[in-house]
């Protein structure tokens, strides 16, 4: 099917949220994206890049702070009636039966009586849930629940089906099965669905489903690149063309997630990725088991069973500490990384302390602490909010404390809400170096 006329369009959309602590986060900045009839568009990118936010804007569930969303050239005002939505958490009402859940959207569209029963029966049949009409959601497995989610969306015969990580909460086997059914549903003219927009975390899923893949970058969310995918349906996951497409997407994502660091401005503050100590050492441990201590980031993610966006955060953390290099999408263990893994616990903490003190963000905090002895949490949080307005300050702060404590660099008094300095000598040595 070839893309037809313009269906949905976001024009220069910006969206902001206020966090409970008062920080205003920009989820999307100046995003423009068009979706055409008969298209399958996948939105991919790291978490917090605003792809789900954009989906909610398309559904008319939220209004953009700036910019406009158009449906067939008309400015969207309220919920888009031509669309239905499938949620990662299923969003089924637990006190309604399967049939009642599926019928949720029909009444508002004026489908009543026998017609409603027919629509429910058809939708239930399409997703293979016959016989479960009178069950309650809590009696169903995750995969079955999401089938109800799909049936509810299909029951209204929507023109556009919006899916927010529909397979995110399901096991791999169930995902595989449902994914190919989505393609079938889209290609089947009887369903009425002719356009899909899917937010996903999985590269394979995007390549399997989408005709166009939009890669988002974060802080704040923006469109990095668009990728046309013209492989014929049904797609074979083991075919060389498919693999080539996956590799291309990997390359684009790597450029987004692990940008080549600009050598200039070493004093510029960079946020430390929000990863745990054990994740970084886990990565190094795993690299040690590989030939030459290296591997592509997506392969590592798969081997370690984490999603690529988490994996790349861990890699960036290890890179900031100088324990890995990232030429392209290859992650390479450095000599320093090998050394640190060979050390005993105390030596490893010392090495980490030395490395951390060189990290600009930690360096700045240490300088503050040396001057004043102790620093209030509030002060640090305010600082972080100013320097990194796109990152939730509290979670970045928690990361700093975890690493600082691990390296015996600083101490946090949760009762007094105050940071204090530890391990003077290590920090001093780092300065001298």
């Amino acid at each position: 099917m070839t893309p037809g006329s313009l269906l949905l369009e976001a024009q220069h959309v910006t969206q902001r949220f206020r966090l409970p602590n008062g920080q205003v986060l920009e989820a999307l900045r100046d995003v423009s994206l068009a979706v055409h009839e008969h298209e399958v568009v996948a939105l991919v990118g790291p978490s917090g890049c605003g792809k789900s936010t954009l989906l909610r804007l398309f559904a008319g569930l939220a209004r953009p702070a700036e910019g406009t969303v158009l449906y067939r050239g008309q400015r969207l005002d309220g919920v888009l009636g031509a669309a239905a939505m499938v949620f990662q958490s299923f969003a089924l009402l637990p006190w309604l039966t399967v049939a009642e859940n599926v019928a949720m959207g029909l009444e508002a569209r004026g489908v009543d009586g026998a017609a409603r029963r027919d629509a429910v029966a058809r939708a239930v049949n399409l997703v293979g849930l016959d016989g479960f009409e009178q069950a309650y959601p809590k009696e169903l497995s995750g995969g079955m629940k999401q089938r109800v989610g799909f049936a509810r969306a299909l029951a209204v015969a929507p023109e556009i089906l919006l899916m927010d990580e529909p397979f995110g909460a399901l096991d791999p086997l169930t995902t595989e099965n449902l994914r190919s059914q989505v393609v079938d549903l889209w290609r089947d003219p009887a369903t009425g669905v002719n356009t899909l927009v899917i937010v996903t975390h999985s590269v394979e899923e995007a390549v399997f489903l989408a005709g166009r893949i939009v890669v988002f970058g974060s802080n704040p969310g923006h469109v990095r690149e668009e990728l046309e995918n013209s492989l014929p349906y049904p797609r074979q996951e083991r075919s060389p063309e498919f693999e080539a497409m996956v590799d291309r997407l990997h390359a684009i994502l790597t450029a987004t997630l692990l940008p080549e660091t600009a050598p200039a401005a070493p004093q510029r503050l960079v946020p430390f990725p929000r990863v745990h100590v054990s994740e970084v050492t886990g990565l190094l441990d795993h690299l040690l088991t590989r030939p030459d201590g290296k591997g592509p980031v997506f392969e590592l993610a798969e081997d370690l069973g984490v999603d690529y966006d988490r994996m790349s955060a861990v890699v960036r953390g290890a890179e900031q500490l100088g324990w890995v290099n990232t030429p392209g999408e290859i992650v390479q263990l450095t000599q320093a990384g090998r050394d640190v893994m060979a050390m005993d616990d105390d030596a490893r903490k010392d090495a980490t302390r030395t490395r951390l003190a060189k990290q600009p963000l930690f360096g700045r905090l240490l300088a503050m602490l040396k001057e004043e002895g102790t620093v209030e949490d509030e002060e640090v949080l305010a600082d972080l909010t100013i320097y990194f307005p796109f990152i939730p300050a509290q979670s970045l702060f928690d990361t700093i404390i975890e690493w600082g404590r691990y390296a015996e660099l600083l101490d946090h008094d949760a009762d007094a809400a105050r940071l204090a300095l530890l391990g003077w000598e290590g920090a001093a040595e780092a300065r001298v170096e």
Binding site: R56, L61, V79, G81, S89, P94, L96, M104
Partner: protein, 577 residues
Amino acid sequence: MKRSFRRIGLADVAILCLLGGVIAGVVAFAREFRAPLAEAVRIDLRFGALPRYALFSLSRGVTALVISYLFALGFGWAAAKSRAAERLLLPLLDILQSIPVLGFLPGLVLGLMSLFPTRNVGLELAAILMIFTAQAWNLALSFYSSLKSLPVPLRDACQVAGWRASRTFWELEVPAAAQGLVWNGMLSMAGGWFFLMVNEAFRLGGRDYRLPGIGSYMSVALDQGNVPAMALAIFAMVAMIVCLDQLLWRPLVVWVEKFRLDESGGGPAPSSWVLEFLRRARLPRRAAMLQLRAYRSARQAARPLERPFRAVGPVILRAPRRAFEHPIARKVGAGLLAAAIAALGALGAWRLWLLVGRLGWAEWGELLAAAALTFSRVMGAVFLSTAWALPAGVVIGRSPRLARALQPVIQVVASFPAPMLFPLVILLFERIGIGLGIGAVALMVLAGQWYILFNVISAVAAIPQQLKDATAAFRLRRLARWRVLYLPAAFPALVTGWVTAAGGAWNGSIVAEYIDAGGALRTTRGLGSLISDATAHANFPLLAGGIALMSLIVVGWNRVVWHSMMEWARSRFGLVQ
């Protein structure tokens, strides 16, 4: 659909009888409602009269509960939907639920009586409103927090389905809040009984105001020193509470399990023999069908009216909404509302000032001294309650078997209005030579202890099994287990219990420090007795001053001491990591 006609069974007969009873009760209540106001209704102390009185008291409680639910739905919804409303309503709720509402009874009665001078309506309304003030706040808070914690995707799903706001309200928001609303309804009902005696029989400026009910029955029995009648009244009260628990709350609690949002059901499912019985009955299903038919024919009958409404309806409904979508109109509207609220507040403060301004320095001194006395009694009551309820709560909460067995019993006992026992306890104390000055503390314990016990039991019961296993595996001794696990885990709940128990004790002081039993009046110096005395002598400036002072102390203490203690307890001892 398969149809099987079964003969009408025992269950159906029971339901019919119940229905008849409700109708008869409502009729009797309505008739009484219109009875001309005879000052001090004569209370018949014979046993045969008690069921009728119980019915009257019950009707007042249930009517107030229905009003409380309606209020809670409106209030919670407004607070959850509008940020401006939230900022105004939440603090208001916090204050309303902590001030001693009993002090407002005289004003309410006089106001409503002047509205309905020849009927008992004013007095009835005052009683119902007083019960309402003891029931409404926690319901409203519960609904508000349920709305706030509703998962966003569920809301989105309803919006995408094109549900109107009203449908989302009844089919998503209310069901999702149902569990909290039922549990809090149970607490509210118990709270509503607390001042039953005062609500139904009190003296104001030398005049007796009395409504037929268990409360007034008890107070007349006390006046006459009629011990068998007192025992009967207490028995009737207990019977009423047990019946309510078994016939209304248990089935409701089991039924709302259906509306649980998180699927991981904690613990064994509650059971109710009444609900089982009802589910087996055929009649409700037939009734539902009949109701459907009646609804359909009503709609058919209303069809001719529909068209004009359809033409006018949107204008009436949508015009204001459209108007308020305009930013300037919204600002103007909000401004007007804020101004109106401010004006009302200023007016109230001015009136209070005029009233209180008549008090002299000596009277203020007396008020403050009395407040200090009552304050120390309240703290003593909280301390004493903790001394027994904390260990007992830990012991009960630790053993699921014990908790399951005792919980229903404690619930019923806790629902019993403690003030009904006050005179008896005081008479007992007089026998062993304890005066009211100390005895009042014991009465306040009666008023506040259950909150502590309940909170501790539920907190200890919620301790993860693995933590208990860990203390066992590391062979901690009994004392160490309490110190390391049970007491810290119970502490946040204990603070919550203290807040409510202190509130109950303050409220209770109004009746505990001023007791009229066996024809003799016993008072002890304190803010509570000052307020009661001012009521009895219609000394309104003193009454206003006392109420204002008590409200100020309670709210201030809540804000400053309890609140910061709660924050600290949660961050330090909260089990959620």
